[in-house]
C-alpha cells in the first residue's frame, strides 16, 4: 500500500466551547469516510473536539505567497477602516 496514492485532507476541529472550526493539520486517507476517521484518531484523541470537517487539500484555493505585497500590504496604512475612531454612546458597552 503506497501512501503516495492517498490524497491529503485538511482537518478542521471545533472544540468543546468553540463556535468555529479551526484548522489543526492534515491527514492522508483514501476517501472522505476514512479521512474523517483518521482525523478523529489523529486529532481528537485528547478530547480536543466535538465536530470535525475534512476537505481535500487540492480543493482549497490558496493565495499566492508572492502576491502578498499587492494583496495585503495596501491595508496597512488604512487605519480609518478600523472602528477605533468612532465615539460610542455611553449606552453601548462592551464593544
Amino acid at each position: 500500500m503506497s501512501t503516495q496514492e492517498w490524497p491529503l485532507w485538511e482537518v478542521f476541529v471545533r472544540s468543546r466551547n468553540g463556535l468555529d472550526h479551526k484548522h489543526c493539520g492534515s491527514v492522508h486517507a483514501p476517501d472522505p469516510k476514512l479521512a474523517l476517521q483518521m482525523a478523529r484518531d489523529v486529532y481528537t484523541r485528547r478530547q480536543e473536539g466535538v465536530s470535525l470537517w475534512v476537505v481535500r487539500s487540492d480543493h482549497i484555493v490558496a493565495s499566492d505567497p508572492d502576491a502578498k505585497p499587492e494583496l495585503f500590504d495596501p491595508a496597512a496604512d488604512k487605519i480609518y477602516r478600523h472602528p477605533t475612531f468612532y465615539r460610542l454612546p455611553d449606552e453601548v458597552d462592551h464593544m
Binding site: M1, H28, V42
Partner: protein
C-alpha cells in the same frame, strides 16, 4: 473451576486484554501513520476495557486478586479468552478482519449487558459499547475496501476469512457458565447472539464481495482454558516485567 460469574467476566476481560496486546504489537508498524494511530487507539480502548473487567472479576472472586495480578501472574491455562483473540496478527487484512469479527460480536453483546443485574457490569457495558461501535465501524470499512479492492487484497482477505472464521464458532458455543449467569440476569448467553452477529457480519462481507465460509465442526476451546501454542509466546513478553520484578513500580 471458578464461580460462573467470574468465568463469564474473565472471558470478556481476557479477550479484551489479548486483543489489546496483539494490536499493541503493531504500534509503530502500521501501514501508514494515520492507521498506526487508529490501531493503537483501538488497542488502548481494549486494554481500558480489560482493566475494568479484570478488576470486576477480581472483586467477584473475592480472593484479593486485582487487575494486575490477574493480567500478569496467571499462566496460559488460567486464561479464559476465546481462542480467536490469541492468534498471531498475520498481515494487515487479517488484523482488521479479526477486530471486525470480534467487535461485531461485542457490538451486539454490550447493549444486551447494559441491563445486567450487576451494576458494575452494566456500567462497563455502557462505556464499552461506544468504543466498540467505532472499532467495528473502522474495521468494517477496511474489510470492505480490501475485500472489494485489488485482486491481491481480495485474495488476502479471503485467506484471512478462511483462517479466522472457524474460530468464531467458539463465541457462540454454550456451556454451564452461560446457563448459570443467565439464570439471575447477570449475563447474556453468547449463543443467543449468533443471529444478530451473523446479520451484522454478512452485510459487510457481502459489500466486501467476500463469501461467508462454510461452518465446520471445528470448535476451539480458549474459553475453557485450552489454548493454542501462540498464547504462551504472547504472555511471555507481556508478563516478563512483573514476573522478573514482582510489584515493580515506576
Amino acid at each position: 473451576m471458578l464461580e460462573p460469574r467470574v468465568e463469564y467476566v474473565l472471558r470478556l476481560a481476557d479477550g479484551a486484554l489479548l486483543l489489546g496486546q496483539r494490536l499493541s504489537e503493531l504500534c509503530g508498524h502500521g501501514p501508514v501513520l494515520e492507521e498506526d494511530i487508529a490501531t493503537t487507539n483501538i488497542a488502548l480502548d481494549c486494554i481500558g476495557q480489560a482493566r475494568l473487567l479484570l478488576a470486576l472479576a477480581g472483586r467477584l472472586e473475592g480472593q484479593g486478586r486485582d487487575e494486575d495480578r490477574l493480567a500478569f501472574l496467571r499462566n496460559e491455562g488460567e486464561y479464559r479468552n476465546p481462542t480467536l483473540l490469541e492468534l498471531p496478527n498475520g498481515d494487515f487484512g487479517r488484523v482488521v478482519l479479526r477486530t471486525f469479527l470480534y467487535s461485531s460480536f461485542l457490538d451486539v453483546l454490550w447493549p444486551a449487558l447494559q441491563t445486567s443485574t450487576d451494576a458494575d457490569l452494566a456500567a462497563i457495558a455502557a462505556k464499552s459499547a461506544k468504543e466498540t461501535r467505532y472499532h467495528r465501524e473502522h474495521t468494517a470499512d477496511w474489510v470492505i475496501r480490501l475485500g472489494d479492492g485489488t485482486d491481491e487484497s481480495h485474495r488476502r482477505m479471503r485467506d484471512a476469512l478462511d483462517a479466522l472464521w472457524p474460530y468464531t464458532a467458539e463465541l457462540f458455543s454454550k456451556d454451564y457458565v452461560d446457563d448459570a449467569v443467565t439464570r439471575d440476569g447477570f449475563g447474556v448467553a453468547w449463543a443467543t447472539l449468533r443471529d444478530p452477529w451473523l446479520r451484522s457480519v454478512e452485510a459487510v462481507l457481502a459489500e466486501a464481495t467476500l463469501a461467508r465460509p462454510p461452518d465446520t465442526p471445528f470448535l476451539s476451546r480458549g474459553k475453557t482454558g485450552v489454548h493454542t501454542e501462540h498464547l504462551g509466546h504472547l504472555l511471555a513478553p507481556m508478563q516478563h516485567l512483573q514476573r522478573s520484578h514482582p510489584g515493580a513500580k515506576w
